[in-house]
Symmetry: D2
């Protein structure tokens, strides 16, 4: 017998599609795309407050310019003469532990940190201990600081909306205490970055950790599409001029 | 000198990100994700009517169950123990000429058909000629009929919204005339399918043809994410039982 | 300044290509493809014995039928109407921890096991301890046993060649002691499988662990190509019939 | 009933694998990887002459330095923290019409050209006509000239081996006549390039056109692997410095 394909997501019968139970034609025109994304991943429609925050998260990661590695990869591949979906898929493949991955790692770090909290311990004391331990072991806490922005405008706006919509909870609180403590102990500004903020907010919303990378990818595919369409208007084959590469390998030699 | 990376999409400077000119932190919380997608691809924010239609398009393609080839590919790859973004990218790679590709082909067909119209020719006469020619050459007009649904509920709802929002124009009209003529000449129901409807609507909105495949991919990545997360809860390595495959090749032989 | 691209692999100047120092036109016609693969990855040409073993490894993983998950993914994507390289890339993406990944994990396990060996401890005693610990913690040692083959003909042939060519060393020896001990302690046959054998042989050849997955992929891309070409001769869009999927989600419900 | 998976490539039964009929364990140690590649794609083992030429083709495309777009894409993605097979797959996705794709296009052009030959027409006359027509329509004949090398050492060596092994036939001959005519009519050197040579040789060997791209990918995956392993030794996240990108889009503006 062939592998069985069992699913709780979508029921397909002739002339009817149920998405998490709802007829798709009822959803079309009634809900926003952000609500649809929330529904299909979580199984239930978002509240208005949740919808507002998911929209904010999805808008916040939509693009980071032509120099982001996913844009570089997608445009390079697009310039080689492949279909638009091959180039879009390539951009998604570039999202990994070091690009769009800090949200998932921050999410997990916050969960693990909270689990370490002893009954009579204050959150502030927990944070001080955890930050000190990380500094002593020279471990970089994921989700704090940014290689390019010192005060990321996206983070501040996202956190403001999560607060306003009463979505912020223990994980956002914990993340902000860590940011403060990190800056205090290291004597340099290491604010929560946009990926970290998204990780903390998704944790407070009850998502699982891997969705942080997934929401980043769902958001960024829009920016990647724009980049690929722009690349298609340019001359084919984006390459670095060979003379620009620095060769540090074996000098010329001949076969014996 | 290295290849120059020039772009009209996003400007990145320290602590400021401009998306098509707008500060990203201003957009967060102010616009929906669907508007953000429209903005980054088109360069301008959508009108309220355009936003409504884009949301409808994006919701309409969000999933077609576990048996769609992109879901099969994404889940199969996810079951092999790869990161979520590798599996998401794989699903996008499956979107091609025969899966999610009919929208782009229908879009192009409608454009080409309209260009053939002679000054004194009625649209109805044009359509009759084109359908007859396709039937004589046994060419299947892309975007009509569905292998599984005879009356696709998504199509009817999408077209209703496009009409209500006054987005439907010459291409939607042309597509519906073709559907009627196809059914008349072939004596069987060949209605506009969901991909065809999206192609026609995007043509009326002024997008370019390849965006039909792109919008399908942007929408479907949400469903693929749900499928991959569901797959991760199951036992690894989805394979067909080898005895199920039918071998029709060379009988056993030995090296000389 | 733009990211510098520094490399020890290939030097490109007008009308001259040096692969690890050797002029490429000298290599063409003088070395086999397997030697070329060894050279470009390792930096030096293989000995005749090494070449023989690398050829054996590369032939051994060339295909495992239409039912392997990488073949399922590649053929499914190919059937959607994408270019051959998009489908080939898809097949490679399916190679992960649970498909073609046991070689790398076995390689690492063997290295770690040997590092645990105390000075006065016999290899046999080390193996007995390690196997017992794994069984107590219900950890499956990677590279032993196969879901389908009980006596994998590939493994026996590979190990025979590695022995004949005097490539087998401490890691192959260790792997075989583990197999014997596993079968003894569990009272069922858990022989070294083909991935495990390749991991052990590559360890003895001085490669690094991640090359086990890479050699699998380099080998399997040949089989994937054959599958994709075969798929292109068939009717487009490979899907599972929707009625075959088992829906276990929410019953039908309507929007409030 | 679920889609049937029928295949002529590999038969898998417990403890036996037949590749195109041959027991895989018999092939291991008896044939080279290049022969295995030929066998699985063509269905029959190569002659010694065919094997020599396939090895030459596979060695010739093994790498073109860090600046080739497939290497740029694969290394960029690898630097983002993804598994080795995700990065290898990405490199393969970059192989398209404008990168590694000239062989397939040249192959098709040669086939189409020969089909146009009238019974009493000399090959030289056919070539003169075809080259003139292409020049008048400003169509670039695929497979001739190289953006970087004026005298590609790979091409000359490949053609020499194909001649020596008596593999060169009508298509190699035709390709060389076209190169001569192109240079004569355009008064500049437009020699057959390496992709064109491979296309012509594969045509003479009886392969189908799409295998030109496939052989390029099978060969290049070795170089890509070396590049990815090298990239893993470097600092994560390869990006272009944002200030290097040139923004030519909308000036800053605010939401209404």
């Amino acid at each position: 017998m062939t592998e069985e394909w069992e699913t709780k997501i979508t029921k397909v019968t002739p002339n009817e599609l149920l998405i998490r139970g709802y007829p798709l034609d009822e959803l079309i025109g009634s809900i926003t795309f952000a609500s649809g994304i929330f529904l299909i991943i979580r199984g239930e429609l978002p509240s208005l407050r949740e919808e507002k925050v998911i929209d904010a998260i999805l808008v916040s990661s939509i693009d980071h310019g032509v120099t982001a590695p996913s844009a570089v990869a997608a445009r390079t591949v697009a310039s080689c003469g492949v279909p638009i979906t091959t180039a879009m898929g390539t951009g998604i493949l570039a999202i990994g532990d070091y690009h769009g991955g800090a949200g998932e790692k921050c999410f997990k770090f916050l969960k693990e940190t909270l689990q370490k909290k002893k009954n009579d311990q204050s959150l502030q004391n927990l944070v001080a201990t955890v930050v000190q331990a990380a500094r002593e072991q020279k471990i970089r806490i994921p989700g704090f600081g940014h290689r390019y922005h010192t005060q990321d405008p996206r983070t501040m706006k996202l956190l403001k909306i999560a607060d306003q919509e009463k979505i912020s909870g223990v994980y956002v609180n914990l993340a902000q205490l860590i940011a403060k403590e990190l800056s205090y102990q290291s004597q340099k500004s290491l604010p929560l970055n946009v990926d970290g903020a998204i990780g903390a907010i998704l944790a407070d919303m009850g998502f699982e950790a891997s969705t942080a990378k997934a929401f980043f990818a769902i958001s960024r595919i829009a920016g990647l599409t724009a980049h690929i369409l722009e690349e298609y208007t340019q001359r084919p084959v984006r390459t670095i001029i060979p003379s620009e590469a620095k060769y540090t390998g074996n000098p010329k030699r001949n076969l014996a």
